[in-house]
């Protein structure tokens, strides 16, 4: 049984990764799961300098999901390189660094700083709905997507994953723009912009007013977008949005994703990633499928 998948030349032991921002840099969850069993660990978004993030409350529960407005708090690339990369290098898993920035220059700085680090792929987050500058502003316009992708490709030594926002009219347009800019891989979806009001306090549940909706509630939207993008571009896709078990992951794979990320589910089930890995193996065994490759995009 072969569960290996190929993301722009990087071979993952299996298609199961973590979603950026839901797994720290792996240290906390290494108390619960064996990181060696994961296809890749995707780290929390890191910028050129430390960011404080948004005021609290930063999260709110919603029906079958949650809103977050962390605001990309991060320790900055220096601490990240010194502390988090060496930690992850101890494991037999691929390292994918999620990169954020307020300006194109910020992104460039991080990507350049990582050029000679032993990380496998860079995921460029142009889709965070929770910061005023940067993030989603880049991710809702095909021209700026193509532009920033080109800038990243010029500077990066690792293959580049562009992470797309679902808060758009036509996701395929954004995917094609990233492809045109030279992206190696696409990942989708980031969170959908949402809001919650506490009717007893008559106030927003989040200090930031709006936040990003994630969790099982959004899965049907994510699967649809992965399917659309898989049929619009030639790039491998990392699918995510509400995955909590192997069935969910397989939906994305059958829709056309080469790999999948588990996000919000980690919060309520720290063993979720491993359960997905094992569940996929069981599915392959039960259905006598010897290569996961045969499932990618098999539903047309």
């Amino acid at each position: 049984m072969n569960t290996k998948v190929n993301l722009a030349g990087v071979i993952l032991n299996n298609p199961v990764m973590t979603a950026s921002g839901t797994f720290g840099s792996g240290a906390e969850y290494s108390d619960f799961v064996d990181l060696n069993r994961l296809g890749a660990v995707v780290t929390k978004g890191v910028a050129n300098i430390p960011w404080k993030g948004n005021p609290t409350p930063r999260i709110a529960e919603t029906y079958g999901g949650m809103l977050n407005a962390i605001g990309l708090q991060n320790p900055g690339i220096d601490v990240f390189v010194e502390r988090d990369i060496p930690f992850l290098k101890k494991y037999d898993t691929k390292i994918i660094v999620n990169v954020c920035g307020k300006t194109t220059e910020d992104y460039c700085e991080v990507v350049e700083r990582l050029a000679d680090e032993k990380v496998d792929l860079l995921e460029i987050n142009i889709s965070c709905p929770n910061v005023k500058e940067g993030g989603i502003a880049f991710g809702q316009n095909p021209n700026s997507i193509e532009q920033i992708t080109k800038e990243m490709k010029k500077r990066a030594k690792q293959p580049i994953i562009m992470k797309l926002s679902p808060n758009v009219t036509d996701i395929t347009e954004m995917a094609k723009a990233a492809e045109a800019g030279g992206a190696d891989v696409l990942s989708l979806i980031n969170t959908l912009t949402g809001m919650k009001i506490d009717v007893n306090k008559r106030a927003f549940a989040l200090a930031n007013k709006t936040g990003g909706l994630s969790g099982p509630a959004i899965k049907p939207i994510a699967v649809r977008m992965v399917y659309q993008v898989a049929n619009a571009v030639k790039l491998p896709i990392i699918g995510m949005g509400g995955i909590q078990n192997a069935e969910d992951a397989l939906e994305f794979i059958m829709a056309g994703a080469t790999a999948v990320s588990v996000g919000t589910a980690n919060f309520y089930n720290p063993y979720a990633t491993i359960e997905v890995v094992e569940g996929i193996e069981e599915y392959l065994k039960k259905n006598h499928i010897d290569n996961i490759q045969n499932l990618i995009g098999c539903v047309k």
């Binding site: 921002g21 108390d31 404080k52 993030g53 609290t56 079958g64 977050n68 320790p75 919060f267």
Partner: protein, 257 residues
């Protein structure tokens, strides 16, 4: 590996202390063995529409039996779900989490302060401190747990409506009773903690405060539950500390409230 696990555990008892405050004992040897006063656990709902943990402080630890006690108030759908569970049911729990109160106080004179649903963690703590213990409990109206503190220290009560003890808040009770101490331990609503911090600074008292914030992971990975810290935090590299990981107990001087 840390000592924290997520698991399904048995509910040994479920009792109503007031209309909306419930006490439950959860049977788990590992959690009981590892827990210290001031730590908390994450409780999970069975109802699949509610995904996030409900953080609840550990109220008592029975290492002999291998069980922990939680005391919680019904304030929303999750705690309501818990309150309908019965002895013999099981519940998903992760813990113990966070860092409890420092116990190395070498017989110092202390005040333990609990405000409302911040009272429960003070109970286990009161068993572990060796010096003179004054316990100040602040309630809106209906009392709970107050009798259980009596074997560990002298209990002073404040109620907002003045029905029992000092009319007002816990600081009013401290003043009215002329209490003093070398160390304060406190848990309760943020305005109360803010008052205690000011009081402690004014009187040169060391104060340890247990803070609260909405949580998603409960283990330090998501950065949901931060509070402002006085200095740049070692882990986050900004002036934010994670309440679930570095806390929930902080020295009052470390944090901005």
């Amino acid at each position: 590996m840390s000592n924290s696990k997520k698991k399904t555990v048995l509910i040994q008892s479920m009792d109503a202390l007031t209309d909306d405050v419930f006490s439950m004992w959860l049977k788990d040897e590992e959690i009981a063995a590892n827990a210290t006063p001031g730590q908390f656990v994450s409780l999970y709902c069975n109802e699949g529409s509610r995904l996030l943990p409900r953080p609840i402080s550990i109220c008592e630890i029975d290492k002999a039996v291998g069980a922990i006690r939680l005391v919680y108030r019904v304030v929303g759908k999750g705690t309501e779900e818990f309150s309908k569970m019965k002895k013999g049911d099981t519940i998903e729990v992760m813990g113990p989490l966070g860092n409890g109160f420092p116990l190395d106080n070498e017989g110092k004179k202390v005040i333990l302060i609990g405000g409302g649903i911040g009272i429960p963690p003070m109970l286990e703590l009161s068993k572990h401190l060796t010096g003179e213990k004054q316990v100040v409990l602040g309630y809106r109206d209906e009392l709970f747990l107050e009798k259980e503190f009596e074997s560990y220290g002298k209990v002073y009560i404040s109620t907002e409506d003045g029905s029992v003890g000092t009319k007002g808040n816990v600081i009013d009770a401290i003043k009215e009773n002329g209490l003093d101490a070398e160390v304060i331990y406190a848990c309760g609503p943020t305005p109360m903690l803010r008052g205690i911090k000011a009081y402690a600074i004014e009187h040169g008292i060391t104060a340890w405060l247990s803070l609260e914030e909405k949580m998603a992971c409960g283990i330090g990975a998501c950065l949901a539950c931060v509070c402002k810290s006085k200095e740049v935090d070692h882990h986050t590299n900004v002036d934010n500390k994670r309440i679930c990981k570095e806390g929930p107990v902080f020295n009052a001087l470390e944090v901005e409230l």
